[in-house]
C-alpha cells in the first residue's frame, strides 16, 4: 500500500518534470494524473516520445499540442490493446518524423493511428503492423508525402498483395518519390489495381516509365499512371509505352495537349484503334509545331471527329483552323468546337469523302481568297447541301462540290459564288446546265476573276444570254410580267403570281409551277402556263369560292336523308369542306366536286374566249394523256371518277372500258352537262357532284381511294380568309335589308304603301346587284368582302343602306386614297416579286417653321466672295424674258416696219416680202428644279452642314437666274412614315422664312429615297415649265426598316426611272466615297456625280448646276 503510493508520487513527479520542459507555466495536476497510468504501460521513454511530439507541435500550435497530449492516454490505450509498447513508440516516432515537416499531417496521422492499426491487424499480427510502420518511416526518409500515403494505403495494399507487395511498392515509390512525389503518390494509389492487372512486373514498368516521363513532365506522368490500367488492358504495355511516348512528345509543345491526349487515349483506342490514335497524335504533334492552340483543341475534339471522318478531312479541318487562327483565335476555336455537329449534319448528305471535299473547298478558299468567306461557306454548307439535296440526292450534292472544287482551282472567289448560287441555278437549269455554267465560269476565271464572279452571280448580261441558251423549258420568272398584266386585264384587279408546285390560288396570289417543260417548244409551254393561269383566275372570276352550304339546302337534305341525320358539326372548315363531310366518303365527294368545278370553269372559259378554249382542250388532252392507265387503278369507283374526270376535262379517253363503267360514265356525263351552261354556278356544281356521288355509290362497291388530282382542289377557307366571300356577304347584306323592310312593314302598317314605294332600296330586290357592287368595290378600290362583311355584321339593319350608298360613292370618288390631309401613298417597286407593291409607302408632308436664320447669315458671310462670283455668273445666264420675233410669216400682230417696207416695195414694184408679222415668244429659262435633300441620320456631322451651305449658295444663284425651284428634305422611319419637309415649295418666295428653315435643318432618321423621289415627281409634274429637274443630294445607300441592299437600290432606281418617264430629269449628287459600287445600278436612269470630299459640295454644286442646265 505504502509502496504503491510512494511509487505513484514518484512517478507523478517524474512526469511533471518531463512536462515542465514543454510547459511555460505550471503543469496542470490533472494532466499529470491522467498520464500517470501510462507510465506503467509505456515507461518513461514512451512518455518522453509523447511529450516530445507535443512539444514539436506546440511550436506551431499550442492548442493542438495540448489536445493531443490530453488525448494521448486514451490513444495509447487503444494502440496497446492491439500492440505493445514498441508499436506505440513506432507510432510516435513516425509522427515526430512527419511533424518535422508538417504538424498537421502528423496530428492527423496520430489521430488515425488506432484505427489504422486495427485495420492492419485484420491481415496479420502486431508484428506486421510494426513492420508497416517501420517501412513507412523508412519511406518517409525519402519522401514524406509518399510515405504518409503509403501508410494510408497500407491496409488495402496488404490485403491485396501482402506485406511483400507493400514492400515492393514502397521500394518503387520511394525511388520515384525522391524526385516526383506526385507521381509516387499516384503510383501508390493506383498500385493495387495495377498489380491486380499487370502484376509486379507491370507495376515496375509503369513505375519506371512514369518516373522517366516524370522527368519531363510530372503531370503527364501522373495522368499516365491513372490511365495505365485501362491502356494496358487495351494495348498492352507496349502500347502504353507508345502512348506515353506520343504524349510526352506533344507535351513538349504543349503539356496540356499531352495530358489530354492521355486522358482520351483509351476512349479513342476503343473507338478506332491504336493506329488511328498514333496517326492523330502524329498529326497533332505536327500541327502543334506550328500552332499549339489549334493542335490542343483539335486533339480535344478528335474523339468525336475521328470516327466520322478520315485523316484527310482532319488535315483539312486543321488546315482551315490554322489559317483562321492566324487572325482570330476565337473563331478558330468556335470553328473546331462546332465541327462535330457540322460534320454530323454534312454526313446526312454524303460520306466521309464528301465532308472532306467540303472542307477541302473551304481550305482552298481560305488560302486563295479569304478565310472569313471560307468560314461563311463552311457554316452555310449544310444548308446549301440540304437545298441541293432536293434536286438530286447525295450524288448531286457531292458532284456540285466536286465541280466547285475544280473551279476553285481557277478562282476561289468564283467558286464561292458558284456554290452559293448552285441550288438556285440547278433549280433553273438542271445539273447539266450547272456544269456548263461552271465550265464557262472557270474559263472566264482564267481571263478575269471579277468577270467570272459576276457571271456566276448572275450580274452580268453575259449570264442572262448564257442561261437562255442552256435553259430547259419555260420559266415562270421569264413570263411573269406578261402573265401578271394578262391576269390583271382579265380579272380587273392586280393579283400576284407566285411559284408553287402546281397551279392553285388563295385569292391574293395565283400559284404556278416554277417551270414548265412539258413541250419542247417554248410557245406551247407558254400556252400551258396561260391555260393554267387563266383557269385559276376563272375560279376567282366565276365565283368558285362563293360556295355556301345553305344555298344547297335541297341537296343537303337529300344527302342527310340518305346517309342519316346531322353529320359532324364542322367548325373552322370552309363551306366546301363541310359539304364534303356530309358524305360517307368525303374524298370521293371532293374529287368529284373538283373535277366538276373544273369542267364548269373550262366550259365557261370556252364560251368566253373561243380561241383560248381550243388551247384549253389541247392542253387538257396533253395532261390526260399522261395519266395512269385505267386498268392500273384500284377499283371501279376509282376508275369511274378517273374516267369522268378525263372525259369532262379533255373530252376524250381513248381506252377501252368495260361495259358497266362505260354506261355509268355516260350517265354521269349527261348529268354533268348542265354545268356547261354559262349560268351554272358553283352551287350547281355541288348539286351535280351529289348526283354523281349517288350514282357511283349505287353502282360500285368498295372503298374509294382518291385518284391523283387533276388539279388542286379548291382551298375555299384560304380564299375566304384572304379576301372573303362575295356570295355570303351579298346574302347577308340583302337579308339585313329585307329584315329591315319587314320590320318597317310591321311597325307602320298604315304607311306600308308609302314605305314600299319610297324606301324600298335598290339593293333589296337583287342579291346579284349587291354582289356586283361588292365585286366592283374589290376591283376598283381593293375593299375586300370580308371587310364589308365585318362592318355589316356590326351595323344595325337600318344603317346598312346608308353604308351601301357610302360604298357606292366610294367607287365613284376620284381620290379616295389621299383623303388624309398632307399624306400621300406611293407604290414601291419590289425587286423580289418583280412587281409594284401598291400603296406601300406613305409620305407625310411637314412644314418646318420657326428658328433663327443664323446659319444662313454665317454661310452668306463665309462664302461672301464666292456668292458674288456665282451671282455674276448666273446673271449672265439669265435671258431677257419675253421676246418679240419680228418679220415672221405668221404672228399675232402686224410688224409695222415690215409693213411700211412692204408697201414701199409694192410701190417700187419690187417683190414685197411676206414676212410682215410679229410674234411674241417666251424666252424664259423654262425650268423647274426641285432639290431633294437627304436629311437622314447618316448625314450627321459635316455632311448636313455642307448640304445646307450648298442649298443656300444654290438658292442665291437661282434667285439671280430666275429658275423656279423648290427645296425638299426627306427622312423617315418605316414605310408608313416617310417625312417630307417642305423647305421651299415652287410658289414660295425665297425669303427669310425659307432661309431660316434651311438653317434649322437637322439630320434625322432613315433614308427611304424612292417615295420622296416619287412625291417630288408628282410635284414637278404639275409644273408648267418645259424642263423639269430633280437634284438629289444624298450621302449614299438608301436604308430603312426592312428596306436595304439590292431591294432598296432597285426601288430607288425604279423611282428615278418613273421620273424619267414623265420627262423629269434627275441628277444625283452623292458624297459617299465608297459608294461607287452600287451607284451605277441605282442611278442607271439618271446622271450622277460623286463628290469625294463633302467640304467641296457648296463650292461645286453651283458649277454642276450650271453645266447641267445650260
Amino acid at each position: 500500500m505504502v509502496w504503491n503510493s510512494t511509487k505513484k508520487a514518484l512517478g507523478k513527479r517524474k512526469i511533471r518534470k518531463l512536462l515542465e520542459v514543454h510547459y511555460d507555466g505550471e503543469v496542470p495536476e490533472e494532466l499529470v494524473g491522467e498520464l500517470y497510468p501510462l507510465l506503467d504501460k509505456v515507461g518513461y521513454d514512451g512518455l518522453e516520445q509523447v511529450a516530445g511530439l507535443s512539444s514539436q507541435i506546440a511550436r506551431y500550435s499550442a492548442g493542438t499540442a495540448v489536445r493531443l497530449l490530453e488525448k494521448s492516454p486514451e490513444l495509447i490505450e487503444q494502440v496497446l490493446t492491439h500492440g505493445d509498447k514498441e508499436l506505440v513508440m513506432q507510432v510516435y516516432s513516425l509522427c515526430r518524423q512527419v511533424a518535422r515537416d508538417t504538424i498537421f499531417v502528423a496530428a492527423r496521422l496520430l489521430d488515425e493511428s488506432p484505427e489504422l492499426v486495427e485495420r492492419l491487424l485484420k491481415y496479420g499480427d502486431k508484428e506486421l503492423v510494426k513492420k508497416v510502420y517501420g517501412l513507412s518511416s523508412r519511406v518517409v526518409e525519402y519522401n514524406l508525402r509518399t510515405g504518409v500515403r503509403l501508410l494510408g494505403m497500407s491496409p488495402e495494399l496488404v490485403d491485396r498483395v501482402g506485406y511483400d507487395g507493400l514492400e515492393r511498392v514502397a521500394g518503387l515509390s520511394s525511388r520515384i518519390g525522391k524526385e516526383h512525389s506526385d507521381v509516387a503518390v499516384r503510383l501508390i494509389e493506383m498500385s493495387p489495381e495495377l498489380i491486380d492487372r499487370v502484376g509486379y512486373e507491370g507495376l515496375d514498368r509503369v513505375a519506371s516509365l512514369s518516373s522517366q516521363i516524370g522527368k519531363e513532365h510530372s503531370d503527364v506522368a501522373v495522368r499516365l499512371i491513372e490511365m495505365s490500367p485501362e491502356l494496358i488492358d487495351r494495348v498492352g504495355y507496349e502500347g502504353l509505352e507508345r502512348v506515353a511516348g506520343l504524349s510526352i512528345q506533344i507535351a513538349r509543345y504543349n503539356w496540356r495537349t499531352g495530358v489530354s491526349l492521355l486522358g482520351m487515349s483509351s476512349e479513342f483506342i476503343d473507338r478506332v484503334g491504336y493506329d488511328r490514335l498514333e496517326e492523330v497524335a502524329a498529326f497533332c504533334s505536327q500541327i502543334a509545331r506550328e500552332d499549339s492552340f489549334v493542335a490542343a483543341r483539335m486533339l480535344d475534339m478528335s474523339p468525336e471527329l475521328v470516327d466520322r471522318v478520315g485523316n484527310d478531312c482532319l488535315e483539312r479541318i486543321a488546315d482551315l483552323c490554322r489559317q483562321v487562327n492566324r487572325d482570330d483565335g476565337f473563331i478558330a476555336a468556335k470553328l473546331l468546337g462546332g465541327s462535330p455537329k457540322l460534320i454530323a449534319r454534312l454526313l446526312e448528305y454524303g460520306d466521309n469523302e464528301f465532308v472532306t471535299s467540303v472542307y477541302g473547298l473551304c481550305c482552298q478558299v481560305a488560302e486563295d481568297y479569304n478565310w472569313r468567306t471560307a468560314v461563311r461557306l463552311l457554316t452555310e454548307s449544310p444548308e446549301l447541301s440540304k437545298r441541293l439535296h432536293k434536286y438530286g440526292g447525295n450524288e448531286l450534292v457531292k458532284a456540285v462540290y466536286a465541280i466547285c472544287t475544280q473551279v476553285a482551282e481557277c478562282s476561289a472567289r468564283t467558286a464561292v459564288s458558284l456554290i452559293e448560287a448552285s441550288p438556285e441555278l440547278i433549280g433553273r437549269v438542271g445539273y447539266d446546265g450547272f456544269e456548263k455554267v461552271a465550265a464557262r465560269a472557270a474559263e472566264l476565271a482564267k481571263l478575269e476573276v471579277g468577270r467570272a464572279t459576276s457571271f456566276v452571280r448572275g450580274e452580268s448580261s453575259e449570264y442572262a444570254a448564257f442561261i437562255d441558251t442552256i435553259i430547259q423549258g419555260l420559266e415562270l420568272k421569264k413570263i411573269k410580267p406578261v402573265l401578271a398584266n394578262y391576269l390583271n386585264a382579265l380579272l380587273g384587279y392586280r393579283i400576284e403570281i407566285a411559284e408553287a408546285q402546281g397551279a392553285s390560288t388563295d385569292g391574293e396570289r395565283i400559284y404556278l409551277p416554277e417551270r414548265i417543260q412539258e413541250f419542247s417548244e417554248e410557245d406551247r409551254n407558254f400556252i400551258l402556263y396561260k391555260v393554267l393561269a387563266t383557269h385559276e383566275e376563272a375560279h376567282l372570276e366565276y365565283g368558285s369560292f362563293d360556295f355556301e352550304l345553305m344555298r344547297v339546302q335541297d341537296v343537303v337534305s337529300r344527302i342527310s336523308a340518305k346517309y342519316g341525320g346531322e353529320r359532324k358539326q364542322m367548325n373552322g372548315t370552309s363551306d366546301v369542306g363541310g359539304f364534303y363531310e356530309l358524305f360517307p366518303e368525303p374524298t370521293l365527294a371532293r374529287d368529284l366536286t373538283t373535277v366538276l368545278e373544273d369542267y364548269r370553269i373550262n366550259s365557261r372559259l370556252q364560251t368566253e374566249y373561243p380561241v383560248l378554249g381550243e388551247h384549253i382542250v389541247e392542253m387538257n388532252v396533253h395532261v390526260v394523256s399522261k395519266r395512269l392507265a385505267i386498268a392500273e387503278l384500284a377499283n371501279d369507283k376509282q376508275r369511274a371518277v378517273e374516267l369522268i374526270g378525263q372525259r369532262l376535262i379533255a373530252g376524250t379517253s381513248e381506252e377501252q372500258v368495260p361495259e358497266n363503267l362505260e354506261q355509268a360514265v355516260d350517265r354521269a356525263l349527261s348529268i354533268s352537262h348542265t354545268l356547261s351552261s354559262p349560268n351554272a354556278d358553283v352551287h350547281e356544281t355541288a348539286r351535280v357532284a351529289a348526283e354523281l356521288y349517288f350514282l357511283i355509290e349505287d353502282l360500285f362497291q368498295g372503298p374509294y381511294k382518291p385518284v391523283p388530282p387533276f388539279s388542286a382542289s379548291l382551298d375555299q377557307s384560304q380564299v375566304n380568309q384572304n379576301i372573303g366571300n362575295f356570295g355570303r356577304t351579298a346574302r347577308k347584306i340583302s337579308e339585313k335589308l329585307e329584315s329591315k323592310e319587314s320590320r318597317t312593314e310591321q311597325d307602320n302598317e298604315q304607311m306600308q304603301t308609302v314605305q314600299q314605294s319610297t324606301s324600298s332600296s335598290q339593293y333589296a330586290a337583287s342579291e346579284e346587284a349587291v354582289k356586283k357592287l361588292l365585286r366592283a368595290l374589290f376591283k376598283e378600290k381593293g375593299v375586300r368582302p370580308k371587310e364589308v362583311e365585318s362592318r355589316i355584321d356590326a351595323l344595325e339593319s337600318s344603317k346598312v343602306e346608308d353604308y351601301l350608298s357610302d360604298l357606292e360613292t366610294l367607287i365613284r370618288a376620284e381620290d379616295e386614297l389621299q383623303s388624309e390631309r398632307d399624306t400621300y401613298l406611293y407604290h414601291e417597286w419590289g425587286s423580289d416579286i418583280g412587281d409594284y407593291r401598291p400603296n406601300w409607302s406613305r409620305i407625310r408632308e411637314r412644314a418646318i417653321d420657326g428658328g433663327s436664320n443664323n446659319f444662313y447669315l454665317d454661310t452668306i458671310q463665309k462664302y461672301a466672295g464666292l456668292i458674288k462670283c456665282i451671282r455674276r455668273e448666273f446673271q449672265m445666264l439669265r435671258p431677257e424674258g419675253l421676246l418679240r420675233l419680228k418679220r415672221q410669216f405668221d404672228g399675232d400682230d402686224i410688224d409695222l416696219d415690215a409693213a411700211v417696207q412692204y408697201f414701199i416695195d409694192k410701190r417700187l414694184r419690187l417683190s414685197p416680202s411676206e414676212r410682215n408679222y410679229v410674234r411674241t415668244e417666251k424666252r424664259l429659262r423654262d425650268m423647274a428644279v426641285a432639290f431633294l435633300v437627304d436629311v437622314s441620320g447618316s448625314t450627321g456631322g459635316a455632311t448636313i452642314a455642307c448640304e445646307k451651305e450648298a442649298l443656300i449658295l444654290m438658292s442665291e444663284a437661282l434667285r439671280e437666274l430666275g429658275d423656279s425651284f423648290a427645296i425638299y428634305g426627306f427622312s423617315g422611319h418605316g414605310r408608313d412614315n416617310v417625312t417630307f419637309y417642305k423647305i421651299k415649295d415652287f410658289d414660295d418666295l425665297y425669303d427669310e422664312r425659307v432661309q431660316s428653315r434651311i438653317s434649322i435643318l437637322t439630320n434625322e432618321q432613315s433614308t427611304r429615297i424612292a417615295p420622296a423621289i416619287r412625291h417630288t415627281t408628282v410635284k414637278l409634274r404639275s409644273r408648267e415649265e418645259k424642263i423639269k429637274l430633280i437634284i438629289l443630294l444624298s450621302d449614299g445607300k438608301p436604308l430603312d426598316t426592312d428596306y436595304h441592299g439590292d431591294y432598296a437600290i432597285a426601288d430607288t432606281g425604279m423611282a428615278l426611272r418613273e421620273a424619267q418617264r414623265y420627262g423629269i430629269k434627275s441628277f444625283c449628287i452623292t458624297v459617299d466615297r465608297e459608294a461607287a459600287e452600287y451607284l451605277p445600278q441605282m442611278y442607271a436612269n439618271s446622271r450622277w456625280v460623286v463628290i469625294d470630299d463633302v467640304l467641296k459640295l457648296p463650292d461645286k454644286i453651283t458649277r454642276i448646276y450650271r453645266l447641267f442646265t445650260t
Binding site: V482, A484, A489, D892, I894
Partner: protein, 276 residues
C-alpha cells in the same frame, strides 16, 4: 398662210353637217345636250379619247341643224387664233374672223376640242361667252359682239389625259354643263362597231370583249385603254381583208403602249379571242 386662210375651211356653208352622223346614245347625253342648247348653256364633254365626244357634237349639230365650227386645240393656239386678226391684203389690211367670232356672228356651235391643250389666254377669251353675258370682246376692233340665241360653246376635255399640267382650271370648269362619257356598255359598243364597220356581230362582240379586258389595265401600265374609235378602225381593217394579226396589232396594241411586256400581255388577251 394666206392660202390656208382662204381655203374652204373658213367658208360658212361648209360648216353645216349635211348627212346624219352615226351615233348611238350611251345614256341621256342627247337630251342633256339639247336642253343645254335651248337654255343657252355651254357644254363640256368629259371622257377618254375615242369615246365619242366629237361624234356627239357632230350628231347634235346635225340634229339641231346648226353649223359646227370645230377647233382642234394645240399648245400654240392663242386667243387671236380664235377671235381673228388683221392680215395684209394688197394695199389694205383686212380683218379676218376667227372661228369663234364667226360663230358668234352667225350662230352655230363652236367645238373646242381638247381645250386644255391651248394657251392660257384662250380661256380669257371664252369666259364672257360662257356666262350670262354671252358676248365676245374684240379689242383690236374695239367691238363687242353679242352672241345670238343659237350660238353654243362646247368644249371637250379628257381628264385622264397625259399630264397633270393639262388640268382645266376650276373657274373654267364650273362654267359648263358637264356631260361625262365612259366607255359604252358592251352591247352598245358591239352595236357601234358592228354598224360602223359592217363586221359580223360576233367579231364585233369579241373585239369589244377584248377591249374591255384591256381597259382593265388602265393605270396598271396603260395610260388609256382601247378607244371605241380604235375598235372601229380594227373592225374596218378586218372588214377590208387585212389579216387579223395586222389589223389587231396596229389598232389595239401598238397605239397603246411601247412597253414590250405590256404589249405581250395585250397580245395574249387578244389571242384568247382571235386566231392570230
Amino acid at each position: 398662210m394666206l392660202e390656208r386662210l382662204n381655203s374652204r375651211l373658213y367658208e360658212n356653208g361648209s360648216f353645216e353637217i349635211k348627212d346624219e352622223p352615226f351615233y348611238l346614245p350611251q345614256g341621256n347625253e342627247v337630251s342633256l345636250f339639247e336642253a343645254a342648247y335651248k337654255n343657252k348653256l355651254p357644254v363640256m364633254l368629259k371622257g377618254p379619247t375615242g369615246s365619242g365626244k366629237t361624234r356627239l357634237v357632230e350628231y347634235m349639230a346635225w340634229k339641231l341643224g346648226r353649223p359646227l365650227y370645230t377647233v382642234a386645240c394645240h399648245d400654240d393656239l392663242s386667243g387671236n387664233d380664235l377671235t381673228g386678226r388683221y392680215l395684209i391684203k394688197g394695199d389694205e389690211v383686212e380683218w379676218i374672223d376667227g372661228p369663234l367670232l364667226m360663230a358668234v356672228k352667225n350662230g352655230g356651235i363652236v367645238y373646242l376640242d381638247e381645250i386644255v391643250e391651248a394657251r392660257k389666254d384662250t380661256t380669257v377669251v371664252i369666259h364672257p361667252l360662257t356666262d350670262h353675258r354671252r358676248y365676245l370682246l374684240i379689242e383690236k376692233l374695239g367691238k363687242i359682239f353679242y352672241a345670238p340665241d343659237d350660238f353654243m360653246l362646247v368644249i371637250s376635255y379628257n381628264p385622264g389625259y397625259q399630264s397633270v399640267l393639262k388640268e382645266l382650271k376650276q373657274s373654267t370648269r364650273q362654267r359648263f354643263v358637264s356631260i361625262n362619257f365612259g366607255w359604252p356598255s358592251e352591247d352598245l359598243e358591239t352595236q357601234i362597231v358592228h354598224q360602223e364597220t359592217g363586221v359580223e356581230q360576233d367579231t364585233a362582240k369579241r373585239l369589244v370583249k377584248a377591249a374591255n379586258k384591256i381597259r382593265n389595265l388602265i393605270h396598271q401600265g396603260l395610260e388609256e385603254g382601247v378607244s371605241t374609235r380604235e375598235l372601229v378602225y380594227a373592225g374596218t381593217l378586218l372588214k377590208s381583208g387585212v389579216p387579223v394579226r395586222d389589223a389587231l396589232y396596229s389598232t389595239m396594241i401598238e397605239p397603246l403602249t411601247h412597253d414590250s411586256d405590256l404589249k405581250r400581255s395585250i397580245e395574249e388577251i387578244l389571242k384568247n379571242y382571235f386566231e392570230v
